[in-house]
């Protein structure tokens, strides 16, 4: 017992302890006595008052305001990868021990601060502004996940050396191998596993020879390589350069199709952007009323953190009301501002009916913005002072089986020589034909017979007319029955929505991922056209552009290089191409057979689909893949039903012969890999990312190695990573665009691509120059942020006039344009029309049924690939419930390894409506089994008023089988799994295999091929 304690024994007891002790708590007395005699049994703290708290990163003098950094710490601004929002973060780095201590937000970053610090401010000023009373307004936060992700850096479950499987595929048995052996084996192939010959990359590196002369559209042999990644984490340009332009395969895929693709394609249809699938966000600074249907700001959605802050400010500081329409109550809701927000519970997948009902009510009651919808083009828009224009007045060829069916009538169709490419509209006043480019309004409702230049006679209808007819297919009460929202609620919401002019917005996202995702999304987004809010202050806006980085920049052209290959042939996923153009179709027609159905669905309006790539590659329709390189992608965890659909086929090496996984951890998908390549976590590597949406100003986030990587190194001293792997493979195969002469500068001189720094630092120079060069970094900027540590690398890779400007970008965690004044309204401008009828959709047929897609929003219940309703296969009396999946505000699909995040919410209970559960005799805490036609899981029930009757709500991000949950054996030694990582349930394990999809794939949206995870038919039972 030390002296202090002994002294205090007297004083302490005298000071008031005695009376309490006298109350007779035997345990505490015993413990206290033991503690007094022998000292506490616990581990001593580093400071007696502040315990084990971290040493503050700065000291800011209260009087002078002078900032003094702590010895041995820097504060680095870089990019988060806790989720796909990819915010800018500030990381406190212990430079002595090479550790990240704690993470908060980057004060310059528009995704981390409502009013970000001016870009030109010095780092010292920006950091000083984080302290004291001023720091309240200056604070820039990371979310819980972003703060916790630093644990991944030194996580015991990380892979640090290349590995090769030694057991059967998926067995979890590995041996470590050298990087050189890895590169040799995957390029040259051979009898790699004692299971027979395996084709390596060299064997399929042939961009000349057709793989199948019977089906020339399949393209060259090189297409037998499939490359996938998770998302645009800031490094994708290099992956695409390798995939498309160096190796020359057509096949690339990413997580979009099991993330929010149904939304994106529906939104793309609305924005007339079937390539980039633009999506938009509410203008939070000015909107008066916003409906969130299938998205939940402050709970999830993208950008998660920024929208959380924007919602908090809007509902607290100004006149703002909002409604959340969802099967389960999200954190968007707030009792504290009860008067301005409301939750409308809806049946899972009911959104399509609800949105169509609102469209119908708005049209029937003439509550739409007539002046807006009547402007047929940019000239009329400007003349009328509208913020955007629409194609509501454009005319749709509406005669079935005519060659132009579903197309917008063009001047050339009527034989016009002037304005031949313009759309034809009807002059609102004169009633005559008019080009849509005329500066005056056009008739909104049109149905006419017209003789075309080729002599054929067709019916044309305005897009608004077509939308009206589709909306009136069902009555309000029929829609109400489909979504289980009362007619009165639908009407009230539609009235409210049309009561604030252009300051009403409706927004959606991944909540639409049901069995008719495309039409659900298109209908919801279309409501914005009814109030004409596109580009309007308080309306819907499209984000600002990123700064060019590893693309075709001013300093370096990183998109082009000598010998660049353009990939040929159709995607494995049968997307962005029509079935009718295929040899298969032509052969059937030539043989006099009905060409429908195709062997399996085609997706003419969709981008490449990770959701179909694998099943196609395994089944060989359209063709087989032989090698699959997967960088962090995880559809086996993330795509509903995929595990069940392809598990056996994926484990069979005779189908895809070689699978290479690249990742810092072993995820559920890479667990099937033959080779594992270590990769960097965000704090260790380079990259440039952008905002998905919701940021008005231009912005690009920069990521740089703020600590030394934990992974092994190549013989050249490069950290093992995706970059090191692709560069080594490319050089061994002598692919163009890699090696000593790979990157042209503005003068045409070629610079090397032998390392990650060769690539990203030149990208940084491009960022620094786009839109005018940034200033040079000050020594103080570099010292405070730790960029000083990489200054030598910058100098050795960049030109003398470049390196300090690149350093300026890294010092600030990226480049950010000037934020618009809050009273300015959206500064971005979408120039294409709000598209009431999308002819690219409306002129395509479904490849199984042969029916035309409808080119405007229309109601469809969830259905399978062949068009059949789910209930026909899985009757309601057997499957009475509908599952709804919602994003976690804590866990992303790849954050589970962080223990300080798991501690708050260790698993996800199964949310059941209180009355439903009571009727079934289920109580909170009971173990329950959730069963669907696709599988069953066991979880813990939680009774919630915040779940729609008839729904079961499951939060995403739990129920992992990998990422550390499972024990793997490496070089004969077990790397033990941590069962807390595997806690909870994964809704995707309950996903359905589509009984009408001949390749046996998981259930996908019949239009877009997006994964179906909403409204899965289910039942639930108590586990005894």
């Amino acid at each position: 017992m030390d002296k202090n304690r002994r002294n205090l024994l007297k004083g302490g007891v005298a000071a008031g302890g005695l009376g309490v002790f006298g109350a007779g708590y035997v345990g505490p007395v015993k413990k206290a006595t033991e503690g007094l005699l022998s000292g506490s049994a616990g581990e001593p703290t580093t400071d007696r008052i502040t315990g084990n708290a971290l040493t503050p990163e700065f000291h800011i003098d209260a009087d002078t305001g002078e900032l003094t950094p702590a010895d041995g710490q820097v504060v680095s601004l870089t990019q988060c990868l806790g989720c796909w929002t990819q915010c800018g973060i500030r990381a406190r780095v212990d430079t002595v021990n090479n550790r990240v201590l704690r993470i908060a937000g980057n004060p310059y970053h528009p995704l981390s601060h409502e009013n970000p610090r001016p870009y030109a401010d010095s780092v010292r000023d920006a950091y000083t502004g984080l302290g004291g009373d001023a720091g309240i307004d200056g604070r820039s936060a990371a979310c819980a996940r972003g703060a916790a992700m630093l644990e991944l850096l030194d996580n015991p479950q990380r892979i640090t050396q290349p590995m090769k499987r030694v057991g059967p595929r998926g067995s979890g048995e590995w041996q470590t191998i050298s990087f050189e052996q890895l590169i040799e084996e995957v390029t040259e192939g051979g009898d790699l596993f004692g299971e027979g010959a395996v084709d390596g990359l060299r064997a399929i590196h042939d961009t000349e020879t057709l793989m199948d002369p019977e089906n020339p559209e399949y393209g060259p042999v090189a297409n037998r390589l499939l490359v996938t990644d998770a998302g645009p984490d800031g490094r994708r340009d290099l992956v695409k350069r390798f995939t498309f332009n160096a190796f020359g395969t057509r096949n690339f895929g990413h997580h979009g199709s099991y993330c929010g693709l149904g939304y994106r394609v529906g939104s793309g249809a609305f924005f007339d952007d079937m390539k980039g699938f633009t999506h938009a966000k509410p203008d939070w600074d000015h909107a008066r009323f916003v409906i969130f249907m299938g998205t939940a700001p402050a709970h999830a959605g993208n950008p998660y953190k920024q929208q959380g802050r924007q919602l908090a400010s809007a509902r607290t500081d100004r006149r703002f009301e909002y409604v959340v329409v969802a099967p389960s109550l999200p954190n968007s809701s707030s009792l504290a501002t009860r008067s301005n927000n409301n939750w409308v519970p809806i049946r899972p997948a009911g959104d399509s009916a609800m949105a169509m009902a609102m469209i119908r009510w708005i049209i029937d009651n003439e509550r739409y913005d007539h002046a807006y919808l009547s402007q047929p083009g940019p000239a009329a828009r400007d003349a009328a002072g509208e913020p955007s224009w629409s194609n509501a007045t454009h005319l749709v060829v509406s005669t079935e089986e005519h060659a132009l069916t579903g197309r917008i009538l063009r001047g050339r169709d009527l034989g016009w020589t002037d304005n031949a490419d313009d759309s034809v509209v009807v002059d609102a006043e004169a009633g005559e034909w008019m080009a849509h480019t005329a500066p005056q309004p056009a008739a909104l409702f049109v149905t006419r017979e017209v003789t075309l230049a080729d002599g054929s006679r067709v019916t044309v209808k305005s897009a608004m007319q077509r939308l009206t007819e589709e909306a009136r297919r069902l009555s309000l009460s029929e829609y109400s029955a489909e979504c289980d929202v009362p007619v009165a609620t639908i009407e009230a919401l539609a009235r409210k929505f049309t009561s604030h002019g252009k300051k009403s917005v409706i927004n959606t996202h991944g909540g639409v991922m049901n069995g008719s995702a495309f039409y659900t999304s298109y209908a919801i987004v279309m409501l914005n056209a009814m109030v004409g809010n596109l580009n309007a202050p308080g309306g819907t806006f499209v984000k600002g552009q990123p700064f060019t980085n590893t693309g075709a920049g001013e300093r370096y052209d990183m998109a082009n290089f000598p010998g660049k290959i353009g990939p040929q042939g159709i995607f494995l996923s049968r997307s962005r191409t029509t079935y009718e153009a295929s040899s298969e179709y032509q052969r059937k027609v030539a043989a006099g057979r009905n060409p429908y159905p195709a062997k399996a669905p085609w997706y003419p309006v969709s981008p490449p689909l990770f959701t179909e790539h694998l099943c196609s590659a395994l089944e060989g329709y359209p063709y087989q893949a032989k090698v699959w390189i997967n960088h962090m992608g995880n559809p086996i965890y993330g795509q509903a039903g995929l595990r069940k659909a392809i598990d056996e086929r994926l484990k069979d090496p005779s189908r895809i012969g070689l699978i290479i996984g690249i990742e810092p951890f072993i995820n559920e998908t890479n667990a099937y890999a033959d080779y594992l390549v270590p990769d960097l976590v965000t704090y260790e590597g380079w990259g440039f990312s952008k905002a998905w949406a919701g940021v008005k100003q231009r912005m690009t986030s920069a990521r740089w190695p703020i600590v030394e990587p934990r992974v092994g190194k190549t013989a050249d001293g490069e950290p093992l990573s995706m970059e090191a792997f692709l560069i080594a493979v490319s050089k061994r195969l002598e692919l163009p665009g890699f090696g000593d002469k790979a990157i042209p500068d503005a003068d045409g001189n070629l610079h090397p691509l032998n390392s990650a720094a060769d690539w990203y630092l030149r990208g940084a120079a491009n960022v620094a120059w786009d839109g005018g060069p940034v200033a040079e970094a000050a020594e103080d900027d570099m010292r405070l942020t730790g960029v000083e540590r990489i200054a030598g690398t910058l100098q050795s890779h960049l030109k003398p006039e470049e390196w300090r400007r690149a350093a300026y970008v890294f010092c600030r965690g990226g480049r950010f344009g000037k934020a618009p004044a809050k009273d300015a309204g959206p500064v971005t401008h979408w120039d294409r029309p709000a598209t009431l009828w999308n002819e690219m959709v409306g002129s395509q047929r479904h490849s199984l049924s042969g029916e035309y897609f409808t080119g405007c929003p229309t109601f469809h219940p969830p259905r399978f690939a062949d068009g059949s309703r789910v209930e026909r296969h899985y009757p309601v009396d057997q499957w009475p419930l509908r599952l709804t999946s919602y994003k976690s505000h804590l866990q992303s699909p790849h954050s589970i390894a962080a223990s300080r995040l798991r501690q708050i919410h260790p698993y996800n209970p199964v949310g059941i409506n209180t009355r439903d559960a009571q009727a079934a005799g289920i109580d909170t805490g009971d173990r329950v089994r959730v069963v669907t036609p696709g599988g069953s899981v066991e979880g813990v029930a939680m009774l919630r008023d915040g779940v729609k009757r008839g729904a079961v709500a499951i939060e995403h991000g739990f129920g992992h089988r990998e990422l550390g949950a499972r024990t793997h054996t490496i070089d004969g030694t077990a790397l033990p799994g941590d069962e807390s990582i595997g806690a909870g349930v994964n809704l995707n394990d309950l996903g359905l295999v589509d009984p009408t999809h001949s390749s046996g794939n998981a259930w996908l949206d019949w239009v877009t091929g997006a994964s179906v995870r909403q409204a899965l038919p289910a039942r639930i039972e108590r586990v005894a």
Binding site: A15, L18, P44, T45, T50, L150, G308, L335, S899
Partner: protein, 254 residues
């Protein structure tokens, strides 16, 4: 659901049934049995305002505090409790977020019960624990009506929020405040009439509440937006989550 959690939910129900709500101006009480304050700046009185209208339940504060102060995994100096409440009349359901932490009371019940004077209130109002002195008896843990204290499993001594006093003294914000995504948490000097916190409290004067004012603990964590009108008709709320297996709500009593 473990026992400590059930107890907390019971208490929370009481809180929301109206016990909590008393305007700041009425929260007057005498100091009783408090030992003299020591240490800290006598000219300052730190307090925290939490604007519940801005809280989105993101738990960034919880994680940031956990990393800053390094309690054992599963024990918390602060956390945000989340409830779903249903209005009996309308049957409408809404979310309630309630950040919890030490209230740095002016009349802290945890201080006088310490047998070894290991915990005391500084002159700036922050209640601190001396981990070298503390014997881990747990009296203070029992005495706190807000479940704000716990015995740290690793150090075996009492642990609690101290407003990140090490950061305040460095001119920086506490971890929970600087990481607050919604901008709900505001810390500052209540003795400074121009401080941010005083501005916010005066702007919302009639809507400032403290937890359990009837205990005369004089909490210095002030809540804005704890709407009692709706709360009185609460049908019964459930914690949206279960606790960590490691312990209870604010860190279990071991």
């Amino acid at each position: 659901m473990d026992v400590s959690r059930r107890q907390f939910l019971g208490k929370a129900a009481a809180v929301t049934a109206g016990v909590a709500v008393m305007p700041l101006s009425e929260a007057e009480a005498g100091l009783n049995d408090q030992p003299p304050r020591r240490g800290g700046d006598p000219n300052k009185r730190y307090g925290m305002a939490i604007d519940l209208r801005r809280c989105i339940g993101c738990q960034a504060c919880t994680v940031s505090c956990s990393i800053e102060n390094q309690p054992p995994v599963g024990q918390f100096r602060t956390i945000v409790h989340q409830y779903e409440v249903t209005d009996n009349a309308s049957e409408e359901t809404a979310a309630v977020m309630l950040p919890r932490l030490c209230n740095q009371c002016d009349n802290p019940p945890c201080v006088p019960v310490c047998p070894v004077q290991a915990t005391w209130q500084r002159k700036d109002g922050i209640v601190v624990v001396d981990s070298d002195q503390c014997v881990g008896c747990g009296y203070c843990v029992q005495a706190c009506p807000y479940d704000a204290r716990f015995i740290n499993h690793e150090t075996q001594v009492a642990d609690k929020c101290n407003f990140c006093v090490h950061r305040l003294e460095a001119g920086l914000l506490p971890a929970c405040v600087e990481s607050c995504v919604g901008g709900a948490r505001i810390i500052g000097d209540l003795n400074d009439p121009d401080s941010h916190i005083n501005r916010v409290l005066s702007e919302n004067y009639d809507d400032v509440k403290v937890l359990k004012p009837e205990l005369n603990t004089r909490p210095h964590v002030f809540y804005i937006g704890m709407t009692d009108a709706f709360i009185e008709r609460i049908q019964g709320e459930s914690g949206l989550w279960f606790d960590s297996e490691h312990g209870g709500v604010m860190g279990a009593v071991s």
